[in-house]
C-alpha cells in the first residue's frame, strides 16, 4: 500500500508516493538513488544510515518513510552545496578521518547534527556524540580530531 507524502529533501520540496512499510533508508536509496546513506545492520545499531531529520540525527533504518511527512530531511548528498564541501567534509579529508568510507556519511551526519546543537563540544562530548556510529577501520581518533577542528573553526 502506498501513501503520498510531502517533505523537504536536501532543501527541495518533494511529493512522493511510498510504500507504507518502507523505511526512510530504503526510500532514500531505492526511490531517490541517494546511496550515500548506507545500510550496515538494518537495526539501528551501527549508525551507517544516519541522516538528519528536522535537525536531529536519526538512524534512517528505524524510521518509516511515511514519518517524513512534513519533515526536513538532510542526507550526505545535501551537505555539499553547489560543489562546495561542508567544513566537516573538508576536515574529514584533511585529517584522514576515514578509511573504507562506509561509515563516513553517517558519521559526518551525526557530527553535523551535533555541531548544530552544540557548536563548541569538548573532545569528550564528541566521543559521546559519535558513540552510536561504529567504525571498524580508523580507531576513531582522527574522526574525533576532524570534528574537533571544525568546532574550533566555528569558534575562532
Amino acid at each position: 500500500m502506498k501513501k503520498t507524502i510531502n517533505f523537504i529533501l536536501n532543501g527541495e520540496p518533494v511529493e512522493h508516493a511510498v510504500d507504507t512499510n518502507k523505511t526512510l533508508l530504503k526510500m532514500l536509496r531505492e526511490d531517490f538513488d541517494l546511496t550515500g546513506t548506507k545500510e550496515g545492520c538494518g537495526a539501528g545499531e551501527c549508525g551507517a544510515c544516519t541522516v538528519i531529520m528536522d535537525g536531529k540525527a536519526v538512524n534512517s533504518c528505524l524510521v518509516l518513510a511515511v514519518e517524513s511527512e512534513g519533515k526536513d530531511i538532510l542526507t550526505i548528498e545535501g551537505l555539499t552545496v553547489n560543489g562546495e564541501l561542508d567544513p566537516l567534509q573538508t576536515s574529514f579529508v584533511e585529517n584522514a578521518a576515514l578509511q573504507c568510507g562506509y561509515c563516513t556519511p553517517g558519521m559526518i551526519m551525526t557530527a553535523k547534527a551535533m555541531l548544530n546543537e552544540n557548536p563548541n563540544p569538548s573532545l569528550d562530548e564528541i566521543k559521546e556524540g559519535i558513540s552510536g556510529n561504529l567504525c571498524r577501520c580508523t580507531g576513531y581518533k582522527k574522526i574525533i580530531e576532524a570534528i574537533h577542528s571544525v568546532a574550533e573553526q566555528n569558534n575562532s
Partner: protein
C-alpha cells in the same frame, strides 16, 4: 623525496565524504533480480530432500537452485568448498538453496516456502574432539580434494593440514633445560565486522560472458576460483570490485558470489544481486578460526630460551580452503619474534561443524601471539626476569635465525622495544588511581610475514597523457588502508609529477592488470614495487626520447616536476607532456608512439621449505617486527578494564604516508582491543548465538586510549623505497599486551580472550576466596 614520506591527502577522500563513491550495494542495474538463501538450521546434516514446488509457484519468483545442480568444488588452496551444500550441510547457516525473484521481499518469502528434509548427523563442535579417532568426519572425501602441494591433509581424519616445524634438537634441549614451563591458551572465534556487509551482483550475457560485481579484496583470485567452480574461461569472466567497505580478510576469497552465479547462468541477461544481512555477516561470511594452543618452553639459567614445543589446533570450521594456510603461517611463525635454536611445532587445521574460518587481519599471528607473549611473561616471572629483560635477551636481532632456520639480516625489534619501553615507561610502576581501581602495564612483541604463495605476483601499468598527466592501473584494492593514495605517491615520486596529476584505476579484471590478492599486508610492498617498476619503465622511455631530442646522454638526464631535465644544464629540458605520445620531429614525423610503462613483480628467490621439517633458507618475503606497550585500569568492583594508553613502534622499512600509516596502527589497536576485551562469536552446538551488534560488541569512540605511535625505518631492500607491510602486524601485539597489563594490575591471568568484565570479576572473587 618530494611525495614519498609525506602526508599526501587520500585520493579517494572527496568521493567518500560526499557519499558519491558507489559500493556494490549502491549499484542498480536495469531488470535486476534479487536473491535470497535457504540455510541449514543444523550444524551437520544429510540433505534428504528439498521441495521447491511451493516456492516456485510464488508470483515474482524467477528461479530456484539447489546444490546438486553445480557440484564442482572451489577453493584457494584446497578445493573443498561448494557454494551451495551438496549432499549434506556442514555448518549451521550453510546455503542449501537459493531463490531469485523480482524483489528481495518475494525472494525471502519464497525461501520460507522451501521445505528441506534433513537427517541430522553428530557434529564436531570442538577442534580437539575433531582430532579424536572416532570423531564424525566433516569431509569423508578429503583424500579426493585438489590441494596445493605445500599443504598436508590427512584423509580419513578431520585434519586438513598438518604443518610441522623441526629445528635443531628440541627433545634434547628439553632434557638439558634449567627450567621447563608449559602453558595452554584458548582463542575463540571472532568476526571481522566490516561495516559494509558482503554483497555481489552477477550477470551473464547471451554469449556466455559473466560479469561479477563484488565487494571483494582480490578480484583476480575471485575470478580464478569462480572460473574453476563454474567452468568459465578467464577471458569470459570479468570481476569488478568498485569499492570495498572494509575487508580485514573477510572479503579476500569467495563467499556469496558462487550462490548467485548459477542463477545468472540460467537467467541470461538478468543481473542478480545478493547482499548479506548483518546476521549473515556474523554467521555466513568468514570468521576468524578458534585456536587451542599449548606451549612448552625450555630456558637456561640466564633466561635464554633454548627450546619451544608448540601445539596449535585450529578450529577451521566447515571448509578450510583458506584456513589451511593460516595453520601453515602460524606454524612457521610459531617462535614469535625470538631467536630460538630448537623448535618442535605442530600446527593442525581441523574441520569442525562451525562457520567457515578464513583470513582475518594478522592471519594467525594475533592468535598465536596472544599465547606466545603471555607465555613469555609467565616464563619471565618464574625465572625472575622482567618482561622487558626476557624480550631483550631472546628478541630477534640481525644475525639470529627464524624458526625455519633462515638467517635474519634485518630486524628493528630491539629499537622498537627500547622505544616502546620508554614511551610506556615500562620500568615505572603504574600509580594507583583509587582503592577500587588498579592499574598495570604490559608489553608484547610481534612479527608477521606476508603469508602468500612464493610466486604471488603484482603488476601495474602507467599511461602518460598528452597534457603531462597520467593514469595508473593496478588491481591492488583500496579497502580503506589507503593503497590508492600510496600507489599514487610512489608513481608521483618516480615520475616527478604531482599526485593530483595521476588518476588511479583499480579492481576490474578486464581493464586493470593482475594482482594476486589484496591481503597479507603485501600491497605497499608488492603492488608498490610493481608501480615503481612501471614508472621506471615509463621513465626510461622518456629518457630515451629526450636523449634524441636534447642531444644529451640518458645518464645525464632526470625527471623533475613534469620535465625531463639535464642534470648538468638545468635549462635544457623537455616537458613530459611533449613526449607522452612519442617524439615528433621538425618535419612532422614521429617515433616511438604513446608511452605506457609496465611493471611486474614477484618477491625474489622465495623457495619452498622442507615439507617434513619446515626448514628453508628463504621461505618468506620478509618479516615485519614491532612492539606495543599498554597501560590499563581495572575496576575491581566491576571487573571492567579500561585501556588508558598504548605505545606502538614497528619497523616498517619506510613510511610512505605518515598520516595513513598512523591510521592503520590506530585502527589495528582498536581492533586488537576489541578481541582482547569484548569480542567472541558465541557458538552453541555449532550455532552462532550472538549475530548482532546488540550481542556482539565492537569498540566505539568511547573506548579509545591515548596512542603513541612511532616507527623505525630499516629498509627492506626488495620493497619500494625500502617499505614493508604493517597493517596486519600492528594488530598482533595489542591483545597480549593488554593481557599482560591486566596481570600486572590484578595478578589475574585468564589464558583466554576476550577478557571480559565478567571473567575478570569472577577471577578476582575466586582469588579473594
Amino acid at each position: 623525496m618530494k611525495y614519498v614520506g609525506k602526508s599526501v591527502k587520500r585520493v579517494d577522500g572527496i568521493k567518500k565524504v560526499t557519499g558519491s563513491l558507489k559500493y556494490v550495494d549502491d549499484i542498480k542495474l536495469s531488470k535486476m533480480l534479487y536473491a535470497a538463501v535457504k540455510r541449514s538450521p543444523y550444524a551437520h546434516a544429510n540433505i534428504v530432500n528439498i521441495n521447491i514446488e511451493r516456492a516456485k509457484a510464488l508470483k515474482g519468483v524467477k528461479d530456484i537452485i539447489t546444490g546438486d545442480l553445480f557440484t564442482k568444488r572451489a577453493g584457494l588452496y584446497l578445493e573443498d568448498k561448494n557454494f551451495l551444500a551438496v549432499g549434506k550441510a556442514r555448518y549451521n547457516g550453510e546455503a542449501v538453496a537459493a531463490v531469485c525473484a523480482e524483489t528481495e521481499e518475494i525472494a525471502q518469502e519464497a525461501v520460507n516456502l522451501i521445505e528441506v528434509e534433513y537427517e541430522v548427523l553428530p557434529a564436531v563442535t570442538n577442534a580437539k574432539d575433531g582430532m579424536k579417532k572416532n570423531a564424525p568426519l566433516v569431509h569423508p572425501d578429503l583424500g579426493d580434494y585438489k590441494c596445493a602441494p605445500v599443504f598436508f591433509p590427512e584423509p580419513g581424519t578431520n585434519i586438513s593440514n598438518h604443518y610441522k616445524q623441526r629445528k635443531g634438537d628440541a627433545p634434547k634441549a628439553f632434557e638439558e633445560a634449567y627450567y621447563v614451563i608449559e602453558n595452554t591458551f584458548y582463542v575463540p572465534h571472532v568476526q571481522h565486522v566490516p561495516i559494509e556487509p558482503h554483497t555481489a551482483i552477477a550477470q551473464m550475457d547471451a554469449d556466455g560472458c559473466l560479469t561479477v560485481w563484488s565487494s571483494c579484496q582480490s578480484p583476480y583470485a575471485v575470478r580464478q576460483s569462480l572460473s574453476v567452480a563454474f567452468d568459465i574461461p578467464l577471458n569470459k569472466l570479468r570481476v569488478i570490485s568498485p569499492a570495498v567497505g572494509g575487508g580485514f580478510g573477510s572479503k579476500a576469497g569467495t563467499t556469496l558470489e558462487g550462490i548467485i552465479i548459477p542463477l545468472a547462468m540460467r537467467l541470461r541477461g538478468r543481473p542478480i544481486k545478493l547482499t548479506y544481512t548483518r546476521e549473515d555477516e556474523f554467521q555466513n561470511a568468514y570468521v576468524r578460526q578458534g585456536l587451542h594452543s599449548k606451549i612448552k618452553t625450555a630456558v637456561n639459567k640466564e633466561g635464554k630460551i633454548t627450546a619451544v614445543q608448540n601445539e596449535f589446533i585450529w578450529d577451521g570450521g566447515a571448509y578450510t580452503e583458506y584456513g589451511v594456510n593460516i595453520a601453515k603461517a602460524a606454524g612457521y611463525a610459531s617462535t614469535g619474534p625470538y631467536d630460538i635454536d630448537n623448535v618442535w611445532t605442530d600446527s593442525y587445521c581441523v574441520y569442525t561443524n562451525h562457520p567457515v574460518g578464513g583470513p582475518y587481519r594478522g592471519f594467525g599471528m594475533c592468535e598465536i601471539h596472544f599465547c606466545i607473549e603471555q607465555n613469555l611473561d609467565i616464563v619471565a616471572e618464574e625465572i625472575g626476569l622482567t618482561p622487558y629483560e626476557i624480550r631483550k635477551i631472546n628478541g630477534m636481532k640481525p644475525g639470529g635465525t627464524t624458526g625455519t632456520g633462515e638467517l635474519v639480516t634485518q630486524s628493528g625489534l630491539m629499537e622498537c622495544l627500547e622505544q616502546v619501553s620508554a614511551d610506556i615507561k615500562i620500568n615505572e610502576k603504574s600509580k594507583l588511581s583509587s582503592s577500587k581501581k588498579v592499574r598495570g602495564k604490559g608489553i608484547a612483541c610481534g612479527w608477521k610475514s606476508p603469508s602468500m604463495p612464493n610466486d604471488a605476483g603484482s603488476s601495474a601499468i602507467i599511461k602518460l597523457n598528452e597534457d603531462g598527466t597520467a593514469h595508473l592501473l593496478v588491481s591492488a584494492q583500496d579497502i580503506g588502508q589507503g593503497s590508492d593514495t600510496v600507489m599514487t605517491q610512489i608513481a608521483a615520486e618516480v615520475l616527478s609529477i604531482s599526485p593530483d596529476k595521476i588518476t588511479i584505476r583499480t579492481g576490474d579484471t578486464d581493464c586493470t592488470p593482475y594482482e594476486w590478492q589484496t591481503v597479507a599486508s603485501r600491497i605497499t610492498y608488492s603492488a608498490g614495487r610493481a608501480v615503481y617498476e612501471a614508472c621506471q619503465d615509463a621513465k626510461s622511455q622518456l629518457l630515451e626520447l629526450s636523449q634524441i631530442k636534447l642531444g644529451i646522454y640518458e645518464r645525464d638526464l632526470k625527471l623533475k616536476d613534469g620535465y625531463v631535465v639535464s642534470k648538468i644544464y638545468p635549462d635544457k629540458k623537455i616537458a613530459i607532456a611533449d613526449l607522452a605520445l612519442g617524439l615528433t620531429f621538425d618535419d612532422g614525423s614521429g617515433i616511438h608512439g604513446p608511452i605506457i610503462g609496465r611493471g611486474s613483480f614477484i618477491p625474489p628467490n622465495i623457495r619452498n621449505a622442507d615439507k617434513h621439517t619446515g626448514l628453508g633458507e628463504h621461505p618468506v618475503a620478509y618479516w615485519t617486527y614491532g612492539v606495543q606497550g599498554v597501560e590499563v585500569e581495572v575496576d575491581i568492583e566491576t571487573g571492567e578494564t579500561k585501556v588508558l594508553k598504548v605505545a606502538s613502534c614497528f619497523d616498517v622499512g619506510k613510511v610512505i604516508n605518515p598520516q595513513l600509516i598512523e591510521g592503520q596502527v590506530e585502527g589495528a589497536i582498536l581492533q586488537g582491543m576489541g578481541t582482547a576485551l569484548l569480542e567472541e562469536l558465541m557458538l552453541k552446538d555449532g550455532k552462532v548465538m550472538n549475530p548482532s551488534f546488540v550481542d556482539y560488541k565492537i569498540p566505539t569512540s568511547g573506548d579509545i586510549p591515548e596512542m603513541i605511535i612511532k616507527f623505525v625505518e630499516n629498509p627492506e631492500e626488495t620493497g619500494p623505497f625500502g617499505a614493508r607491510g604493517v597493517a596486519e602486524p600492528a594488530m598482533v601485539p595489542t591483545a597480549p599486551a593488554i593481557a599482560n597489563a591486566i596481570y600486572d594490575a590484578t595478578g589475574i591471568r585468564l589464558n583466554t580472550m576476550p577478557m571480559t568484565a565478567e571473567k575478570i570479576l569472577s577471577a578476582i572473587k575466586a582469588k579473594e576466596i
